[in-house]
């Protein structure tokens, strides 16, 4: 077997994630996500002399680890697993990673890592931290999963590398890059029976002719669907329209790499209309029904209540070799516009004719990220960098979130030691963040300002006692300043039929995550497990007030933002066992325990999940492969939380199936979810009171590579 390793990509080594290649991947695209260090050579030959069919070319793609420490666990989704998830939302794709669940608001879903989400989870897309209106749990991540080449989840505090907000973890989205070698691309078409939802995405890239070192790339994706359904009927107003495009221009020379790109994501999404309630007695009526009315008719169009989102990101990246040091600079500009319409128009015909959204926010953010690496030879490595951000939020209409300007600056440094079988590192960071808020109170505009200074640290250690076993452990911190909503909310939050009141004296949250993980990769067994505990000081949460608030619409439950200590802990495990050459057993599971300051469970955080399945693999060649098998999923019963509207969901068993075939250059994936068409309620769905989850859903993904 001739192994020809593409040297250009080896430059990124010292990188990689814990995700393990599934043995069905054709050798030619073997995605070897082992934690290589240039000095630790052991795993590389092992992969090359595997028992796979001979290949003429092995392309080794390295990835820069995105975590704050070598001791942190990183889990990734790419290749076949990611392709099978195309056609769904980003959060749905990430659910395949143990420990990650979706916090749902009907059909709107956002990822939850280690029980935390929204402003406690940083989302980094192509190096830029996505800044959206993440204050609402009913706001999905403003990114199109069809662009992603790889999704990586880092669990636990990661503020050293990612600054404020990285308490629960970090989600890294890597889109496909530019191809300098030749023209390449991928088309993906998706169809889902629930909706139905159809989608198509195209990615093309290649060098610019007669311009040495220049390459371009672009993507275009569209997705549309009608109302979804559950076992007994339609989920009214859950239709969806979504689109994205991106363009990339790149120039690479020996000492300088320049990349400019722009991406746009837009979404028009209906919100389950049977969940919209006018007041507490309406809520009780809706709770008593528990399901949408039988009369709800299926519709293709998106109706009210609905939300429209547009997110633009521009990036400029420079990587230069100056005086033997490697300098990386990344500048980003983002604009996020979110508009939400209530169920019904104003009674006044003049206002109704304007058709203005109830909520309308524009968030503009500029960021920079500068990193220096002196490229020390030897066992010691050192890196340092600085990051800055300036952000402005402006509203039209109801001021649920006031106008604000947020500015931050941070500097970090990581020192690491790499030996043959182990590495260790220590990182530190300092951040300064300011927040200015302007609120209109009648004729007056009131200005409020605050400043937070916060240190962060990360310590980690990695050990390879043998070539197929990696052990890691880390202790890392995270922090988050309170948001404008937590400080100044005062009004009705329609999505949850509650009045929320902020507290301008709230301080910043500080977290420390301790974790330990292991991964073992051999030809017959791939197993990864981790345990972690996260303590959050001054954890901000909504505590129910003793009495409801009276409004012109009647009484509403009222909640105030308070802070206290919170503890979250958990464990997860995933395994692939090769039983015989043509049969594999796959399983993954996670356990989670989350307690707020009152030692009560945190609402909508599920207690765990277990998945298992068998794969029949009659064909396992580099150009042609086939696998298919059943899946079963168990969602354990949910703990009751105080002041919940309805009893916690019962346990659920779900049946599914997955099949995947490659016939170069085509790939086909077929998935069946909830095949028994069970009626079940998801513990992490905030609209579970009003509607069960989707029923049977078959999806087909076809992909062609060039």
């Amino acid at each position: 077997m001739t192994a020809c390793i593409t040297l250009a990509t080896l430059a990124f080594l010292g990188a990689g994630t814990d995700s393990v290649p599934t043995s069905s991947l054709p050798d030619s695209t073997l995605d070897a996500n082992r934690d290589w260090q240039p000095e630790a050579r052991a795993p590389l030959p092992r992969l090359l002399d595997s028992t796979r069919a001979p290949a003429t070319t092995v392309t080794v793609r390295g990835r820069r680890r995105a975590s704050s420490s070598v001791g942190q666990s990183e889990r990734a989704l790419s290749g076949e697993a990611l392709l099978s998830s195309r056609g769904g939302s980003l959060a749905e794709a990430l659910e395949r990673i143990p420990g990650v669940v979706s916090l749902k608001t009907g059909t709107v879903a956002k990822p939850m890592v280690n029980g935390l989400h929204s402003q406690r989870l940083v989302v980094v897309e192509d190096g830029i931290r996505l800044e959206g209106q993440s204050w609402g749990a009913e706001h999905a991540v403003e990114s199109d999963p069809s662009r992603a080449e790889r999704l990586t989840v880092i669990q636990g505090g990661s503020s050293v590398r990612h600054g404020q907000g990285a308490i629960g973890g970090v989600l890294v989205i890597d889109p496909a890059g530019a191809d300098h070698e030749g023209f390449s691309g991928r088309w993906t078409g998706t169809v889902r029976s629930d909706g139905p939802i159809g989608g198509s995405s195209l990615h093309l890239t290649g060098p610019i002719p007669r311009m040495e070192g220049w390459a371009v790339g672009g993507t275009l994706a569209l997705r549309a669907g009608g109302d979804r359904s559950f076992a007994e009927g339609t989920l009214p107003n859950t239709a969806l329209r979504e689109g994205s495009w991106s363009a990339l221009l790149e120039r690479k020379s020996e000492s300088l790499e320049i990349q400019a790109s722009h991406s746009v994501f837009w979404q028009h999404q209906g919100i389950l209309s049977s969940s919209h309630v006018g007041n507490l007695s309406d809520l009780h009526t809706a709770l008593a029904k528990g399901s949408p009315p039988d009369t709800a008719a299926w519709k293709w169009d998106v109706g009210r209540p609905d939300q429209k989102v547009r997110h633009d990101v521009s990036r400029l990246r420079l990587v230069a070799d100056v005086g033997g040091w490697k300098w990386s600079a990344l500048g980003g500009w983002q604009s996020d516009r979110r508009r939400e319409w209530d169920l019904h128009r104003p009674i006044d015909s003049r206002l109704a004719a304007l058709d203005l959204p109830e909520l309308d926010y524009s968030l503009e953010t500029a960021t920079y990220d500068l990193e220096a690496d002196p490229r020390w030879t030897g066992s010691w490595k050192w890196k340092a960098g600085t990051q800055g951000m300036r952000q402005e939020n402006e509203y039209q209409g109801r001021a649920f979130v006031p106008n604000f300007r947020s500015q931050s600056a941070g500097a970090w440094s990581v020192l690491s030691l790499h030996r043959q079988t182990w590495s260790a590192d220590a990182g530190a960071r300092a951040d300064v963040q300011s927040l200015d808020i302007w609120r209109r109170l009648g004729e007056r505009v009131v200005h409020w300002e605050n400043l937070w200074v916060s240190p962060s640290f990360a310590l980690g250690w990695r050990w390879n006692p043998s070539s197929d076993l990696t052990l890691r452990s880390s202790l890392a911190s995270g922090w988050r300043s309170p948001s404008a909503v937590e400080l100044f909310a005062d009004g009705l939050h329609h999505g949850v039929a509650a009045i929320e009141k902020g507290d301008s004296t709230l301080g910043a949250e500080q977290s420390v995550t301790a974790q330990a993980s292991f991964s073992k990769v051999s030809t017959s067994l791939q197993i990864h497990g981790s345990v972690w505990v996260n303590r959050i000081q001054d954890f901000i949460f909504l505590r129910p007030d003793p009495t409801p608030r009276l409004t012109v619409r009647g009484a509403f439950p009222s909640f105030s933002y308070v802070s206290d200590v919170a503890w979250l802990s958990g464990a997860d495990l995933s395994a692939t066992v090769v039983l015989v050459r043509w049969m594999e057993f796959v399983a993954s599971g996670s356990l989670l325990r989350a307690r707020d300051g009152d030692d009560q469970p945190i609402a909508f955080v599920p207690s765990g999940r277990l998945r298992a399945g068998l794969d029949w693999i009659p064909l396992r060649q580099s150009e042609r492969s086939f696998r298919a098998g059943p899946r079963v999923e168990w969602i354990p019963p949910t703990e009751s939380v105080p002041a919940d509207y309805a009893p916690a969901p019962r346990q659920a068993w779900l049946l599914g199936m997955e099949a995947f075939a490659t016939w170069e250059p085509w790939s086909i994936s077929v998935r069946g979810a909830n095949l028994a068409n069970s009626t079940w309620r998801d513990p992490s769905d905030r609209l579970r009171y009003f509607a069960p989850q989707s029923g049977r859903d078959l999806s087909l993904v076809i992909s062609r590579n060039w």
Binding site: H276, V277, G278, N279, S281, D282, G331, L343, H344, P346, I347, D348, S349, L351, L354, L356, E358, A366, T367, Y368, G388, R390, E392, N393, E394, Y395, Q396, G397, R398, A399, N403, F404, R405, Q407, S408, A409, V432, Q433, S434, D436, W438, R439, R440, V445, H447, E449, N450, L451, D490, G491, L492, I499, K501, R549, L550, T551, V552, R553, G554, F556
Partner: protein
């Protein structure tokens, strides 16, 4: 604090941009969104012209913020029949008050219904109809049955395209829901 904030601003903006005269610092007043601030109940004794009452629920700054002004206790005479009317106003902009009755009783009447609910001391029956001949509820007849305290709940419901002759208080969505405390005394 001000100096520190400025320093952070300068550091962060050094590589970005600076524009401190931004509109972010002057949030706009919103007068293009509807907020029902006022529910007004008027009662007139059919037999006694001097026996009239106006009771008002007022939440000038909408949901949240300052607490609403609750209606005062209304005193009614026993054995009497009152002509009752209810008015819904948007007074969030004092210089441009919207009388929502115009639409509720006009172009929007087929999509709305006002339910009048009482305890045992009173009886309320709606007297006005929408364009399709279904009950509307901006006007009602209130009869006092016995002495004692009672409450009259006025619930304005939005029934878009689903209003029928048998629409119930649990159908559709609440636009306004206010309880007026009443006391029936011997004349």
């Amino acid at each position: 604090m001000k100096t520190k904030t400025t320093l952070v601003g300068l550091t962060a903006a050094a590589l970005l941009w600076s524009c401190d005269d931004s509109s972010v610092e002057s949030p706009v007043e919103d007068h293009e969104h509807e907020s029902i601030t006022t529910v007004q109940l008027k009662l007139a004794n059919r037999a006694l012209a001097s026996d009239t009452l106006t009771l008002t629920f007022l939440d000038a700054d909408g949901n949240g913020g300052a607490k609403p002004l609750q209606p005062a206790l209304g005193r009614l005479k026993s054995g009497a029949v009152y002509d009752a009317t209810v008015r819904f106003l948007d007074q969030s902009n004092p210089s441009d008050i919207h009388d929502l009755n115009e639409e509720i009783g006009g172009s929007e009447s087929d999509d709305h219904r006002i339910f009048w609910t009482t305890g045992s001391k009173l009886n309320a029956s709606v007297v006005d109809l929408d364009s399709k001949g279904f009950l509307l509820g901006l006007r009602a007849t209130l009869t006092t049955l016995a002495t004692g305290t009672d409450s009259l709940r006025i619930n304005l419901r939005h029934l878009p395209g689903i209003k029928t002759a048998t629409s119930k208080i649990t159908d559709g969505e609440t636009d306004a829901d206010v309880a007026f405390p009443l006391e029936v005394t011997a004349p």
